[in-house]
Subunit: 330 residues, 2 copies
């Protein structure tokens, strides 16, 4: 089942059920008005949404209309919890190596997460407003899951059943603001502007065999200004699967329905796959040539992130955005 | 005006208007069903709530009932954004001094913030479930503001008008989990279990002259197991006022309606005021005696946090909680 959120004058938009081919959609106010409302009561709501999805797929549903990603907000336009892992430890190791620092061995067994801004999430085709190009504008291509209520103390094996939906993420980052802020010791805040999400969120069964061991075992395809930048395999080199990440985030707290949990930038040891962020390519260039050669993004640049199934069909639709200068007062 | 949220079977509870003496309350479903709904449309909703508050104060309102803090959820039982400052730099300086580290001079001019879990907030009298006493259970007494929509690029002077409500906070912390996690470089996550808030949130005018320069110029009174622990002045030694903190958090993003922004642990140079967290007292003991003498909290311990006006009347009601062992499966 594929779900989306139509942008409306309401802050939370309107929940849509979307066909597998991403061509048709229908609103379901009689079941749930918004994505958060559906997640708040998922056990009761999910079977009813699936019934609509089945009828929509068979062309039996009245009131269906053309699905237009440009009219979509993020599946959750605002969320109560957005926590992002750094599950591809290869990436973390590279970051350290590029600045000549040793990575602690515990990083292979103890996940790293940070909490992102969740009150203002970007739709798949929204412009990305940034105040200043000099901040070092970068993408981070990721997969994320959405959970139902996950109680404190949930184990990795229990965690799997709490994963209700999957999405793609562009975790926009401002690289030149990171060193100064991390040096303060409290983690990220200013270097993380609003995050963007794919046009639809899908139930794990949509991935078929590619939903494997709590990972999405497919390549994430990243284009910058129409040129292929990377297609790292999300199912390869993910040191901590989503089950382990959920165990980590519920050690001392509950995670409530609608929690968005990201994988962190997808990153493979196989360098021929390319990268899902510019910073990683720059680090590889640093290590290879002694200097970074690829620039961070400029105003007007476009970034497209997508994931295809084995038959080449888009699973989530594309995140396809343009970076723009933030105009104060808007 | 004082507002609260009655716990109901709904996740967001029910918005109440409360009398200034915290004795009577009334639900206002005809105006706004929940605190978030009120904040989403504050410009339209606030005058209508004030009209109810005025009539309630005069005893003219039908349907009022006794206000019972024990039946209250946090004013926002779940929020889209909870960001906590560390505005009392005296406290930060002490932390560093106790571990023999120099504090960078920039800490006096560049605010430190971290983002807390906002999907699962505790009511004023809720038990505080912690998995293990050895985590180093500590309180952090703070003041917080709630904002309306604050656009990216808001300046300190513009920020004042975005502050709609004030609350007290106990930002529960697990001290023994902090060093290991901060060493990982991404800030806090596991050391910050669910945060607790006062029975009511109040509009700044309730503080009268004590709402001064975007600070709450009154002592925060902290008791542990009935014994006075500290009464630091929230208006003294606050290096960054709430206006400056709002400027900081909107440098690269919008803060949406219902953003909760905390002051960080209140801390004065005048040591006779005591502390608003155990960690600070332990650091002072460390510096004075060469060892910390006060223990962190144990299961069964109670913490009470309150703020009184010049006439000794409770402004926000008391946060009054007991620490309990988390029972898995609950």
């Amino acid at each position: 089942m594929k779900l989306a959120t139509l942008r409306t004058p309401s802050r939370d938009g309107q929940l849509l059920v979307v066909t597998r081919d991403l061509k048709r959609a229908v609103a379901v106010p009689q079941i749930a008005g918004t994505m958060q409302a559906a997640l708040d009561d998922w056990g009761r709501v999910e079977p009813r949404l699936r019934e609509v999805a089945d009828r929509l797929e068979r062309g039996e549903y009245q009131g269906a209309f053309e699905f237009d990603p440009a009219r979509m907000a993020a599946p959750l336009p605002r969320a109560y919890h957005w926590v992002d892992g750094s599950a591809y430890v290869n990436h973390v190791e590279l970051v350290r190596k590029a600045r000549g620092a040793e990575m602690p061995a515990s990083f292979w067994t103890d996940p790293l997460v940070y909490q992102g801004g969740s009150d203002d999430l970007l739709g798949p085709c929204d412009d990305v407003p940034i105040p200043d190009e000099s901040f070092g504008i970068d993408l981070e291509g990721e997969v994320a899951v959405i959970t139902d209520d996950v109680p404190m103390g949930t184990t990795r094996s229990q965690a799997r059943d709490h994963i209700k939906l999957l999405m793609l993420v562009n975790d926009w980052s401002l690289r030149n603001l990171i060193p100064g802020e991390l040096a303060k010791g409290f983690g990220f805040y200013q270097p993380k502007p609003a995050t963007a999400f794919s046009p639809v969120a899908v139930t794990p069964d949509v991935l078929g065999d590619a939903w494997r061991d709590c990972t999405a075992a497919l390549p994430l395809i990243v284009h910058i200004n129409g040129v292929l930048f990377g297609r790292p395999e999300a199912g390869v080199d993910m040191t901590f699967d989503f089950g382990r990440l959920i165990e980590h985030i519920t050690k001392t707290r509950n995670a409530r329905a609608g929690t968005i949990l990201g994988s962190g930038t997808i990153s493979n040891y196989d360098r021929t796959r390319g990268s899902a962020c510019i910073a990683e390519r720059r680090m590889l260039e640093q290590l290879e040539y002694g200097e970074a050669r690829t620039s961070f993004l400029r105003f007007g640049d476009r970034v497209r992130i997508e994931m295809l199934d084995a038959q080449g069909r888009s699973l989530f639709g594309a995140i396809d955005q343009r970076v723009v200068k933030h105009a104060p007062g808007r």
